[in-house]
């Protein structure tokens, strides 16, 4: 296992390098730059800006300059927010997204797995159909539809919770809920489907035949193997949710990392684009490594040569 992990980490560095390179060139290939405005700046000023940010150098040189910086851990200054560095931006906004993400994932995992398992155990009964309809409903209503509805009901109408912004536990509830609904539905359905498979396995039938109770059978035998597809979905989801959802953060005005993904591209803020992308990539690859380790823990037959 140790060698396996070391190998994976080495591969991760290579993968990150590929991500940086591809993203760098893609970002510079699309038309428009960080200083294009509706009121175009005079040539002279544009020249000053380009010199300051090395935008007038040949592409490969800019790339190498950037690589050099990134290896030293310096992600550069933001083009759009000249008084802030990308490192600062990530340092300040990631914990916010991560906090929010943590609760959303916790909610989704527990509710999802429980709901899915119960549905599988009572296949075809009322609770199964009920949970399936809800799952479909939540999947068909994306976060940008659900969020305003929540804001209206719990904020404007009931005055229980603030409509937006960040700062207390009250501010976390609606956005976490909005984030969690979709994944809850997916996890529930995935758990149910793979649980059904596992429950029809011979060894489970045998356990039941031996007289073991449903719950015990569930937890000790069925759950472990049934969880594999859930794990596959869950770990990358953690990477995605922890680095923030653009939609939820925008609607609830949460100072998280998620907004930067979209707005940095919109602004052609090259350093931020690359910084958040690399950050997300590293997180994602790490999560996938954890997922693979989890598979091995859940199903001891799985081997990684």
């Amino acid at each position: 296992m140790g060698r396996f992990i070391v190998r994976r980490l080495a591969l991760m560095v290579i993968a990150l390098w590929v991500v940086v390179t591809v993203t760098f060139f893609l970002a510079h290939m699309i038309p428009g730059g960080p200083f294009d405005r509706e009121k175009p700046v005079p040539e002279a000023i544009k020249k000053n800006l380009e010199e300051k940010y090395h935008l007038n150098e040949p592409m490969w040189k800019q790339y190498l300059l950037y690589l050099n910086d990134i290896i030293h851990g310096d992600l550069g200054p933001s083009f759009k927010y000249p008084d802030r560095t990308v490192n600062d931006i990530i340092k300040e906004s990631f914990p916010v997204s991560a906090q929010l993400g943590f609760w959303a994932v916790l909610m989704a995992t527990f509710v999802g797995i429980s709901l899915g398992s119960v549905s599988a155990l009572h296949q075809g009964e009322l609770i199964d159909s009920f949970s399936m309809f809800f799952a479909i409903l939540f999947i068909s209503l994306p976060s940008f539809v659900i969020a305003p509805i929540f804001q209206y009901i719990f904020g404007v109408k009931l005055h229980w919770l603030p409509v937006a912004n960040w700062g207390s536990w009250k501010h976390m509830i609606l956005p976490a809920l909005s984030l969690a609904l979709g994944p809850t539905a997916v996890i529930a359905r995935l758990t149910r489907a793979s649980m059904l498979e596992v429950l029809s396995n011979d060894y489970v039938k045998a356990a039941r035949a031996r007289g073991l109770s449903g719950l015990r059978v569930l937890i000790v035998y069925a759950l472990k193997n049934a969880l594999i597809p859930v794990v596959t979905y869950l770990f990358p989801l953690i990477a995605a949710i922890f680095t923030g959802s653009f939609v939820v953060e925008k609607i609830f005005n949460i100072p998280g990392l998620g907004r930067y993904y979209v707005t940095s591209i919109y602004n052609r803020d090259y350093t931020v684009i690359l910084g958040v992308t690399v950050f997300y990539a590293a997180f994602l690859i790490l999560m996938n490594l954890l997922a693979d380790i989890t598979y091995a823990l859940l199903d001891p037959r799985i081997r990684y040569e």
Binding site: Q151, W166, N253, P255, L298
Partner: protein, 560 residues
């Protein structure tokens, strides 16, 4: 099983660590949060909460370019003059001035009681320092061109001159500032109210060359001279300003605190307003306007802006490769006359916008006091379907037969899409002209416009200062803003003359004549004049809505 237990414990530990995360995060925020729950709660502090709408890019006056930045700085700084609610410059740091040499020399006499928020006096040296800094190539200020009016300003900025002492701004003594201009600029007194021309605390910047980096961590570093000072800046969240005890005019300032939120989602902003979480918002989503129209909270504040269609006159071929019919002025006029503007303004946008039959919006004074430039200029055409059809037929396309398909370009936005759809439908119904809507992401759209990759394109222009010139000099043939490809030497000539003319009446006359030409040739088709609809709680009083899009809370107060 053992491995599983290990895994579970790891998960639990992970969970605990995050739990602490959550706990700590909350603590930090809780302290900051408690203070701005509402207005007049604890210690009867007067707090006004406004939605800025987006995160300011920077709070460095030399580098700021947009309305959010300028709005914040308007409250933290005072320039030589300050605009009043009609957009007219009033004395601020400068208590008086002299204009000499036919408008090419200004001598400002500064008040002696203006202080920086750290107690140091504001002197003429601070102005000289700040202006030269804004012009320096290293700062690479995007708005440096506003200082090009100053002698050698442009040359210094482009590097033609390297000695800043040759730039025409000089502190004669601590309280006298002398400014030499390249050419007379009748609105120079308005210009000095602009952030780019604010003074900067030389002593602070010398000690902190990276200023204003770090003011989010240490707000006291942001030393300013205006009615308010920076108390807190939480990025993409909110910005808090508090009353400046060292402000020379502090008796006029009634608010103790200003909270600027940065909520970008318009719908969320409205919900916040309904839920008493904010006192004033701009930018009401069109879907909600009907609900608010008759309520006392609904204000339509003036703003100088025109929404228009850019016509590509410069290309011989359309985007589809056929002969470009838009090069014929009759076609352009036909299109202009066939669009039913009141449907757009009254049924789709609904925020009190006015259909436009000229380019320069109302709200700009004419030569005679009390008269408005637009009023004097009048309308240049009217919607006349019959006439439009005739013109189109004359141009060789009766009922739109043989008319090539046109591409209408717009940048991603709900509003622009709706307007585009309406125009598309009107042109098809009324003239038989086919138009294809092409939606492009903002920067791609800007590039396409710049490169003439369109037939028709949606465009909007907001005035930089209160004078027709900010609208008219856009279409000079050498202007970078002129994406139409239209060039008229008479027009260029008139604009040039207006720029150098010192007699205001003559100047305004030149501008009217220029607009006449613009509207006769119609390389742009005006649609409507902007408005700035706002929702303002009834207890918010005396705010100044400046027609350049800003709002000034210096003398505002809350009356419950």
């Amino acid at each position: 099983m053992k491995k599983f237990r290990v895994f579970l414990t790891l998960l639990l530990v992970f969970g605990l660590i995050f739990g602490m995360f959550v706990g700590c995060g909350e603590q930090k925020q809780e302290q900051g949060q408690g203070q701005e729950q509402g207005q007049g709660q604890e210690q009867s502090e007067m707090v006004l909460r406004y939605n800025l709408g987006t995160e300011p890019e920077t709070l460095d006056p030399a580098k700021a370019t947009g309305v959010p930045e300028m709005t914040v700085m308007l409250h933290t700084f005072d320039g030589l003059t300050r605009l009043d609610k009609d957009g007219k410059p009033q004395p601020a740091v400068a208590e008086s001035w002299e204009v000499k040499n036919d408008g090419k020399l200004y001598i400002f006499h500064l008040r002696k009681d203006v202080k920086w928020s750290d107690g140091q006096p504001v002197t003429a040296h601070d102005f000289e320092f700040a202006w030269k800094r804004a012009l320096s190539p290293e700062i690479a200020s995007e708005y440096a061109y506003q200082l090009y009016y100053i002698k050698n300003g442009e040359k210094y900025n482009t590097g033609e001159i390297t000695d800043p002492n040759e730039v025409g701004v000089k502190a004669i003594d601590d309280y006298t500032l002398q400014v030499e201009l390249e050419q007379p600029a009748p609105y120079f007194l308005s210009l000095v109210a602009f952030p780019t021309l604010y003074p900067l605390p030389e002593h602070v910047l010398k000690a902190n060359p990276d200023w204003p980096k770090g003011i989010d961590k240490d707000p006291n570093l942001y030393v300013t001279n205006g009615p308010f000072v920076l108390a807190e800046w939480s990025h993409h969240d909110k910005l808090v300003l508090k009353k400046n005890p060292n402000y020379f005019d502090k008796d006029k300032v009634k608010l103790d605190k200003l909270v600027f939120y940065m909520v970008e989602d318009a719908n969320t902003a409205v919900q916040m307003f309904e839920n008493e979480e904010v006192d004033m918002i701009d930018n009401i989503p069109t879907a909600q306007i009907d609900q608010w129209k008759d309520k006392p909270e609904f204000h339509i504040d003036p703003i100088l802006g025109t929404y228009y269609i850019l016509v590509n006159v410069g290309s011989d071929k359309t985007m589809g490769g056929e002969k470009n019919p838009l090069q014929d002025v009759r076609v352009r006029k036909a299109i202009a006359m066939a669009i039913n503007r009141s449907v757009i303004t009254d049924k789709i946008l609904k925020a009190g916008q006015q259909p436009a039959y000229a380019f320069v919006p109302p709200g700009i004074p004419d030569a005679e006091p009390g008269k408005d430039f637009r009023q004097v200029g009048g309308n240049y055409f009217s919607e006349d379907l019959q006439k439009a059809k005739e013109l189109l037929a004359e141009a060789g396309y009766p009922d739109g037969k043989g008319f090539p398909k046109l591409i209408y370009l717009y940048n991603t936005s709900e509003g622009h899409k709706k307007i585009g759809e309406a125009i598309q439908s009107m042109l098809k119904e009324n003239l038989g002209i086919e138009m294809e809507l092409q939606n492009q992401e903002w920067k791609v759209y800007l590039q396409s416009r710049n490169e003439g990759q369109f037939d028709l394109a949606r465009a909007g222009w907001l005035g930089d200062y209160v004078d027709p010139m900010t609208f008219l000099d856009m279409f000079v043939s050498t202007s970078g803003n002129n994406d139409t490809g239209w060039a008229n030497p008479q027009y260029d000539d008139l604009i040039e003359k207006a720029k150098y003319e010192t007699d205001n009446a003559k100047r305004v006359q030149y501008m009217h004549e220029a607009e006449d030409i613009l509207m006769q040739d119609m390389p742009i088709i005006p649609l409507y004049f902007y408005t700035n609809p706002r929702l303002v709680k009834t207890y918010v009083k005396n705010y100044a809505a400046i027609s350049l899009g800003w709002v000034d809370f210096k003398e505002a107060y809350i009356q419950k």
